[in-house]
């Protein structure tokens, strides 16, 4: 028997504010059948994650890393017959994990804060010139003054305010 003594019956309200109504999930597994990451090891079973949220299994959900395997293909989002929006649930679970355990915060957010991008552009100058392009693309990489404004904007977000140690520059 599943022990629900420590379950948080309000967990679904906390996590899925912006998703579909996950109470309509009837465990049909359509979201698993079409999911590339269900072939992973460990597999991502989005159906099981929805169940954990509904049952309020906080501890188990907090240490479950499978939401981060998602390919973001949205096949589940399209196919779910009950309008649960499983992909949105997946992202919402990640955000909840991130709020409750800062080790979940993806390194990419700090990179974007620092440079505006997730890919370094320093070592690609030569290659860009070789194909007839300007060495630095006309993105924020070329406009340091805009990058400053962009960072100022992000400094006002909860994520940056609550985790200042991660965001330098």
């Amino acid at each position: 028997m599943l022990d629900l003594t420590n379950a948080n019956a309000d967990l679904w309200r906390e996590i899925t504010g912006s998703c579909g109504d996950i109470r309509h999930c009837f465990n049909c597994s359509t979201c698993v059948a079409g999911c590339p990451a269900a072939e992973g090891n460990p597999p991502l079973f989005i159906r099981d994650l929805v169940r954990k949220v509904l049952l309020g299994l906080e501890e188990s959900l907090l240490e479950d890393e499978t939401p981060w395997l998602c390919v973001t293909c949205s096949a589940c989002e399209e196919m779910c017959p009950m309008g649960v929006h499983p992909f949105e649930v997946c992202l919402a679970i990640r955000r909840w994990q991130t709020r409750n355990d800062d080790t979940y915060i993806p390194a990419a957010v700090a990179e974007i804060f620092e440079t505006g991008h997730t890919q370094p552009l320093d070592n690609v100058r030569e290659k860009r010139r070789a194909v007839g392009l300007e060495e630095v693309p006309p993105t924020i990489a070329r406009y340091p003054e805009l990058l400053e404004k962009f960072r100022d904007m992000l400094r006002d977000t909860d994520l940056v305010k609550n985790n200042e140690y991660m965001f330098k520059g």
């Binding site: 955000r95 505006g116 997730t118 194909v131």
Partner: protein, 297 residues
């Protein structure tokens, strides 16, 4: 026709030859490209959307404001950028509370989101604004007699309500028609509508599972078709299928014969006669033989 070219992070940094191909081919088709100066990461689903929704939407709105300011529709080749931006736009227009929070953040940076932005994918623009007919008329080296397969970018299919432009959503045809407009015969295979598996955290979190997933698709292409090239229209499909084919090649016999992968605008550029050293110079699987055949060299 004038569009704001949204480059994203990967194309300009990892495959600048694709950026070059886009910049050369689109104007020849009458589509003028404006730069979105100061654009940032879309943001990628694995970044801000996985950490803080308001921050995430502020980053998207930053990008929207650049296109709105220029009065151009935003066009991108990257599937993830496309889907992330489409999803964010919808959210911002539907949720007044979060919109207000985002407006406040943007105001700090001296930017405004009006809500007029239109986000398009490259396939949508090529098919619906330009059209296969017009494309056919610009080719010096059509792919006559060649056989190809296509890989549809998952982010342009689902959720169809948010990102869709092809019909019917579950049975897309536009990329196929665009490749046929180049003169090639496009063949079908059993895992055609599966995603490439290269996006998000799958590759990083479960490398063996992600590679096997891609191998199945590549084996289906190899054993069920006579394709000489794979045509995609998404930087992740391009990089991932190319890389996975290299891996499959290392495994020897069971791999079937490796098929070179191209972005659509790259093949288009080759057919238009542009210099391969500029428009198709970066790949893991060798493409020289095929490029020479396209150019009748």
């Amino acid at each position: 026709m004038r569009y704001g070219l949204f480059l994203g992070c990967n194309v300009p940094a990892v495959r600048p030859d694709v950026e070059r191909a886009i910049r050369l081919t689109m104007p020849r088709l009458g589509a003028e490209l404006a730069d979105l100066e100061g654009s940032v990461c879309c943001p990628a689903f694995g970044a801000f959307p996985s950490a803080d929704e308001t921050a995430s939407l502020a980053v998207s709105a930053w990008n929207f404001s650049l296109a709105e300011e220029k009065g151009v529709e935003l066009v991108t080749q990257c599937g993830s950028c496309y889907s992330s931006l489409r999803t964010a736009r919808k959210r911002l227009l539907e949720d007044a509370e979060i919109r207000e929070a985002v407006d406040r953040l943007l105001a700090k940076a001296g930017r405004v989101f009006r809500g007029t932005v239109v986000v398009r994918h490259m396939i949508d623009v090529l098919y619906n604004d330009i059209g296969p007919e017009r494309i056919r008329g610009t080719l010096d080296f059509p792919l006559d007699g060649m056989k190809a397969v296509v890989q549809y970018p998952c982010h342009t299919l689902f959720p169809s309500e948010v990102v869709g432009f092809d019909t019917p959503a579950g049975r897309p045809h536009m990329l196929r028609d665009l490749v046929e407009a180049l003169g090639a015969e496009v063949q079908t295979y059993s895992r055609e509508l599966q995603c490439c598996g290269g996006a998000g955290g799958f590759v990083k979190g479960s490398y063996a599972g992600a590679s096997e997933f891609a191998f199945k698709k590549l084996r289906a292409m190899g054993s069920e078709t006579e394709a000489e090239l794979i045509v995609v229209s998404c930087i992740t499909c391009l990089e991932h299928l190319d890389r996975m084919q290299g891996e499959l090649g290392k495994k020897g016999g069971e791999g079937g014969c490796p098929i070179p992968v191209f972005d659509y605008n790259q093949v288009l550029a080759l057919c238009m006669g542009f210099d391969p050293a500029e428009v198709a110079s970066i790949s893991i699987m060798p493409r020289d033989g095929l490029i020479a055949r396209i150019r009748r060299a």
